[in-house]
């Protein structure tokens, strides 16, 4: 499909007619500035082809606020035939839809639109305006402004169109109609068994649940039946045990054993009573023995205590005698220490006085030294103050300020410069006068040789020859001379004011003034050091020192500190020795006191011991009068004999009891009791259990557990058989579906191949080394480069708009090859591309335009001028009404 001519009237912003007379059959660059109507042009072509002429489109498409009907005339060629389309969008009588072909065919009104629909394969909107999804291939291939970088949304219509280009190939891949039906049917069958998550559903799930429920029921019944069987076995065991007891007369035998054990225990009990009686008699005899024993012991203790006391008194007396012999006070040492301590105290006092006197001499010496320093300072300060006054007076009399000397320096510099300038501007005359001859220069006689700079009109009198007048014509000598004179006058005035006659004198005077100022600062610094707090303060300090020194004896020479140190050291030694002797004196006194007190204490103890002994001897004598030692000994012997007699009796009774092994006898009795009672209990329990089991079994047997179990087992077996069959069916369907799905996916992946085949050459130009990623529905997913898959949405916006155009070119190639009407409109589709990519895209578009028409709308004419396209400028296409 190739557009040939377009004419618009009353269309949106084109309120004046717009005519594009001749589209290039291959590649058109439609240029226009922003807001000039490029997008409106695309809209107009879409309206012409896809909008209904007799609905509301007219109102939407006409210029704003204008009661006119939009009109479009569009010429195009398709499949070797030329067509002319004329539409006026209106609900009024002027509405028009007219399609005619170069074959002489003609369609009007709705028929024209229907035929157009057949030719281009699109759908007319049921209501409202046409949308991209209704516009067939054009909806896919025509790119509106700012949409180029968006993902490409294929509609079912366009997908079908694209797939139709590969109809036969795809049909084979997808197994034809039967293949699709089979896949659908298997999918539906599988859905009856398994849900999307692969879990059983519906009847299949019910079967599984039923099987599980039956299994559970059977387990319950089996449990009951096992219990029933166990109870039967238990009953059998209990009955057999009961029969054993009866046949072996176990109860009778156990009862006999118990009777024998009880008799033996009674005999043991008699022996135990006898032992208890003999033990009681022994306890009584032992109690009786305790009185003579205690009396005898008291007598023995009294005698022993008297002996112990006597021995202790003897020992104390010996110790006292030794202490008294050892005591002799050290009087000589006392006297010597007292004398030595007195001498030491006197020497201490003498040393302290000498130290004090030496300290006083040092202090007086230091005051005298300080006084002399301050007096010197006062003298120096008075000298400095006088000098300062002199300098200040001099400076006050001859003051040159900085500006005056600066101005003089400036004037001197300017005078020198002007003088040099005059010198340079003058005429140099070198002369050599013959000996004896004289010439006149400005009436001054000159002879010999020399040179002369002439800076003003000069007359040279040449005797006998005449006068030579020289007028230098250098640079404005006159004005220089005037300026010089002015400066010199000012200089002289200033010098006079300063009281000097020359610049050099002025400099000397200035320097002298500077030196005096420096000296003044130096004197002031000296004063600040000497009398920082002023001369009055210094005078007051000197007077204070004079008062202190008045009447004091000033040493002839500086007193020595070393003498003080030596005196102090001697004092410390004497003091330490005094302390030592004092401590020794105290120790001697304490030792003497201790010995005296020890002797007194021993004497007191001896006296007390003798008194106590007398008391004890008196008490023993009194007790012997009541009961002699002999009488106490006899009573004790009799009581001990009685205890021995009862101990023998008790030992005999205990021996007899032990020989009978009472614990064994009692254990046997206990065991026999337990055996008998347990047996009675067990027999009772046995009878009870047998009766209970019989009752229980009778009750359970009634219900026919075994039959119920067999019935349930049969049902479960059948259920399992059905479930196994259904599971097998489900597994088979799952496998079948999975294999079909996998094969279908694999087949669909082959559908992408034609698109890849068409897209790859373009991509090789744009991004060498990359390859397109196309999905089963021939949609663009992204590109792969350097072994990495990059999804479309993750690419840069520039790359997105570029490969989005390229995939459209691939679609267009496929459609074109299959004879479909193909034409591309790209409205500002490369706005994010850099120069390099734009250049490559121009190459790609040009290549594609060899097969079908491409119309590229842009506001950057210069950037696309070399695209190989015919340039159509909208501004050239506007005509007046």
């Amino acid at each position: 499909m190739r557009f040939q001519r377009l004419e618009l009237n009353n269309f949106r912003k084109f309120d004046s007619p717009l005519v594009i007379d001749a589209f290039d059959p291959a590649f058109n660059l439609i240029c226009g500035d922003n807001e000039e109507g490029k997008s409106t042009l695309l809209l107009a072509i879409q309206a012409a082809l896809f909008e209904r002429y007799d609905r509301g489109a007219g109102e939407r498409l006409r210029p704003y606020n204008a009661a006119v009907s939009p009109e479009i005339k569009l010429d195009f060629s398709l499949a070797g035939c030329d067509y002319q389309l004329h539409k006026i969008f209106s609900k009024r009588n002027d509405k028009t839809a007219l399609l005619s072909s170069s074959r002489g065919e003609r369609w009007e009104g709705p028929q024209a639109e229907e035929h157009l629909q057949q030719l281009l394969g699109f759908s007319l909107p049921a209501r409202g305006e046409s949308k991209a999804e209704l516009q067939g291939v054009s909806g896919l291939l025509w790119v509106s402004q700012t949409k180029a970088f968006e993902p490409i949304n294929q509609t079912p219509e366009t997908r079908s169109r694209l797939q139709a280009t590969l109809d036969q190939e795809i049909d084979q891949l997808l197994g034809g109609e039967t293949g699709q039906q089979l896949y659908l049917s298997i999918s539906q069958q599988l859905e009856q068994y398994l849900g999307r998550s692969g879990k059983p559903i519906g009847e299949f799930k019910k079967l599984i649940d039923q099987e599980s429920a039956l299994d559970q029921k059977l387990a319950t019944i089996n449990g009951q039946l096992a219990e029933y069987d166990w109870m039967i076995d238990q009953l059998q065991r209990l009955q057999e045990r009961q029969a054993d007891y009866q046949s072996q007369q176990t109860l009778e035998k156990t009862e006999q054993q118990l009777i024998q054990a009880r008799t033996a225990t009674e005999q043991i009990e008699t022996m135990r009573k006898r032992l208890e009686a003999s033990s009681t008699a022994l306890d009584l005899a032992q109690a009786r023995l305790r009185i003579p024993e205690s009396q005898w012991l008291a007598r023995q203790n009294g005698q022993q205590e008297i002996a112990d006391r006597s021995e202790e008194i003897s020992r104390l007396e010996q110790q006292l005698q030794q202490l008294e012999q050892q005591y002799t006070p050290d009087s000589e040492r006392f006297t010597a220490l007292e004398s030595e301590l007195t001498g030491l105290s006197l020497r201490q006092d003498e040393l302290r006085k000498q130290i004090e006197k030496q300290h006083s001499a040092i202090s007086t010496w230091r005051l005298q030294q300080h006084y002399q320093v301050l007096s010197g300072n006062r003298k120096h300060a008075q000298t400095a103050l006088s000098r300062c006054d002199e300098i200040r007076q001099h400076l006050n009399a001859h003051t040159i300020d900085q500006s005056q000397i600066d101005r003089l320096r400036q004037l001197q510099s300017q005078i020198s410069r002007i003088e040099q300038a005059i010198e340079l501007a003058g005429t140099l005359i070198q002369y050599r006068i013959n000996p004896g001859s004289v010439i006149q220069i400005n009436q001054q006689p000159i002879d010999g040789s020399g040179e002369l700079s002439v800076t003003r009109e000069t007359e040279i009198g040449l005797p006998e020859i005449g006068t030579l007048t020289i007028r230098p014509r250098g640079t404005d000598l006159e004005s220089l001379s005037t300026e010089l004179a002015q400066h010199q006058t000012e200089q002289q005035t200033l010098l006079a004011a300063l009281g000097v006659t020359s610049w050099e004198q002025a400099q000397t005077a200035w320097q002298s003034q500077q030196n005096l100022q420096l000296e003044l600062k130096g004197q002031q610094a000296t004063l600040a050091t000497l009398i920082p707090e002023g001369s009055e303060r210094l005078d007051a300090e000197i007077q204070r020192l004079e008062r202190q020194l008045a009447g004091t004896e000033i040493p002839a020479q500086e007193p020595s500190d070393k003498k003080v140190v030596d005196l102090n050291r001697e004092l410390e030694e004497i003091t330490a020795l005094h302390r030592t002797r004092t401590q020794e004196m105290q120790r001697l006194n304490q030792a003497d006191e201790l010995r005296k007190s020890d002797i007194l204490a021993h004497k007191a103890r001896v006296t007390a011991g003798r008194e106590n002994l007398t008391v004890l001897e008196n008490r023993l004598a009194s007790e012997r009068q009541d009961a002699s030692d002999q009488a106490l000994g006899n009573a004790l012997s009799e009581a001990r004999a009685a205890v021995e007699h009862h101990r023998l009796e008790q030992e005999q009774a205990a021996t007899r009891l032990n020989a009978a092994k009472p614990e064994d006898i009692e254990l046997q009795r206990d065991r026999a009791e337990i055996n008998y009672n347990s047996l009675l209990q067990e027999l009772d329990q046995l009878s009870g259990n047998i009766a209970a089991l019989r009752n229980q079994l009778a009750g359970m047997g009634h219900s026919g557990l075994a039959e119920q179990k067999d019935e349930l087992a049969a049902k479960l077996e059948q259920q399992r058989a059905i479930l196994a069959q259904e599971s097998r069916q489900a597994e088979a369907l799952k496998l079948l579906h999975s294999v079909l799905e996998e094969s279908l996916k694999s087949a669909k992946s082959l559908m992408a191949e034609p698109v890849i085949r068409k897209m790859q050459p373009y991509l090789d130009i744009l991004i060498p080394g990359s390859r397109p990623l196309i999905d089963d529905d021939m949609g663009l997913q992204g590109i792969a480069r350097a072994g990495v898959d990059e999804q479309f949405q993750h690419l840069s916006i520039g790359t997105r708009e570029q490969i989005a155009i390229i995939i459209r070119l691939a679609y267009a190639d496929l459609l074109h090859e299959s004879g479909q009407p193909v034409c591309l409109f790209l409205d500002d589709a490369l706005v994010y591309s850099d120069d390099q990519r734009r250049t490559l895209m121009k190459q790609i578009l040009f290549k594609a335009s060899r097969n079908y028409q491409i119309n590229f709308l842009t506001c950057h004419e210069a950037a696309y001028r070399d695209a190989g396209a015919q340039i159509i400028r909208l501004s050239d296409c506007r005509t007046s009404t």
Partner: protein, 379 residues
């Protein structure tokens, strides 16, 4: 001089058996039939006017059958008012609590019914007939209980009939269980005129004067001649004991081995099935083997579906039957593109017998084939 005596020897009624391997109503009918067969035995005994009917164990399937089952069994026996001697077997051993104690407790044991629950002779018919029972007092007995027969004293001239339940040592055609054994010369050792046995479900003379009556109503797919009663006659003279086999069973359980390879084999199978008499009394198991393609399998399924309706029960066991998609099947499917690729994958999977997906793949091919056929028929 012995008096003439005639008895009916039966065994292994196993009343209460459920037949879990038979689905639905067919099993219920088989279950009910066993009681009907007991009625027929009673009727037969009455008609033959025998002196006694001996049932050699396993009268009931389990000691835990319902009271109702006990009642029905006794009712089924009621047509014959002569002597019944019922022996406990391994299924209904005379345990501390058993069908026998329950029959007594329920008052179902009339005077003409003797429960042989103790190992002691039962003297009947005016001391002309001595039944020497060896009841199982537990399910599995390691001793030969019939050894007690050797020492049992019976009235002079009385017919000595041993009544036992178990496996005759070294005689059964198939290896039997190692417990409840019976010496094969017990009849001689115990001077028995006849040893009436139960446990083996087929009718079989296992040793001299020693017979298994077999179950009167067949209950499994085993061709060992079940479904009979034995009429045993003891003459007045010293003539040998006469044993007559009387057919009694209703249903016939038949297992057929069928090998299939091609379409003609299906025809042959159909022919074999059509040749079976009384199909409504037949329970048929087809043990299928061989290797067939999808088309033949589909036909087999159709044929079996047709025959299922004619027999009381028909089942096909096809674990040994290989289903392969032949080239013709593939052509028949007319598959192309991804369907053809899927078929090839499934064929490959099905051919790998060790693969866990082999069976599923085989069935998947059948489903695919069937589905394609359905689509073709619809179109």
């Amino acid at each position: 001089m012995k008096q003439p005596i005639r008895i009916i020897h039966s065994a292994d009624w196993q009343i209460g058996k459920q037949f879990g391997n038979i689905p639905g109503d067919a099993a219920a009918a088989v279950r009910l039939q066993r009681l009907t067969t007991v009625e027929r035995i009673a009727q037969q005994a009455k008609e033959l006017a025998v002196d006694a009917v001996l049932v050699a164990g396993d009268v009931f399937e389990h000691n835990g059958v319902a009271d109702e089952t006990l009642r029905r069994t006794v009712n089924a026996m009621s047509a014959y008012t002569g002597l019944w001697v019922l022996l406990p077997g391994n299924h209904d051993a005379a345990l501390a609590e058993s069908v026998w104690s329950r029959l007594q407790r329920l008052g179902l044991v009339s005077d003409n019914i003797h429960l042989a629950i103790r190992t002691e002779p039962i003297i009947l018919c005016d001391q002309r007939l001595a039944i020497l029972p060896a009841p199982l007092m537990r399910r599995h007995e390691t001793r030969d209980l019939t050894a007690a027969f050797d020492q049992m004293i019976t009235p002079p001239g009385a017919i000595r009939i041993g009544l036992a339940h178990g496996s005759v040592k070294n005689r059964l055609p198939e290896r039997s269980e190692a417990y409840n054994e019976i010496a094969d010369d017990r009849a001689d050792r115990a001077r028995l005129d006849y040893l009436a046995l139960g446990d083996w479900h087929g009718t079989l003379e296992i040793a001299p004067r020693t017979w298994y009556a077999g179950t009167p109503e067949p209950d499994r797919f085993r061709n060992n001649q079940p479904g009979n009663l034995l009429l045993v006659s003891f003459a007045e003279t010293a003539e040998p004991t006469q044993v007559e086999v009387i057919t009694c069973g209703h249903f016939q359980w038949t297992q057929l081995a069928v090998t299939l390879y091609q379409d003609e084999d299906i025809d042959a199978l159909a022919h074999r099935l059509s040749a079976i008499d009384l199909p409504e009394r037949q329970l048929i198991r087809l043990q299928l083997s061989g290797s067939i393609d999808l088309a033949v399998k589909q036909r087999l399924d159709r044929v079996l579906e047709q025959w299922k309706a004619r027999f009381h029960h028909l089942e096909g066991r096809d674990s040994e039957l290989k289903i392969n998609a032949s080239q013709a099947d593939i052509e028949q499917l007319g598959a192309q593109g991804f369907v053809r690729e899927a078929i090839e994958k499934l064929q490959h999977l099905a051919a790998q017998e060790n693969s866990p997906d082999s069976d599923a793949a085989q069935l998947a091919l059948q489903i695919l084939y069937h589905q394609q056929q359905s689509l073709a028929e619809k179109s």
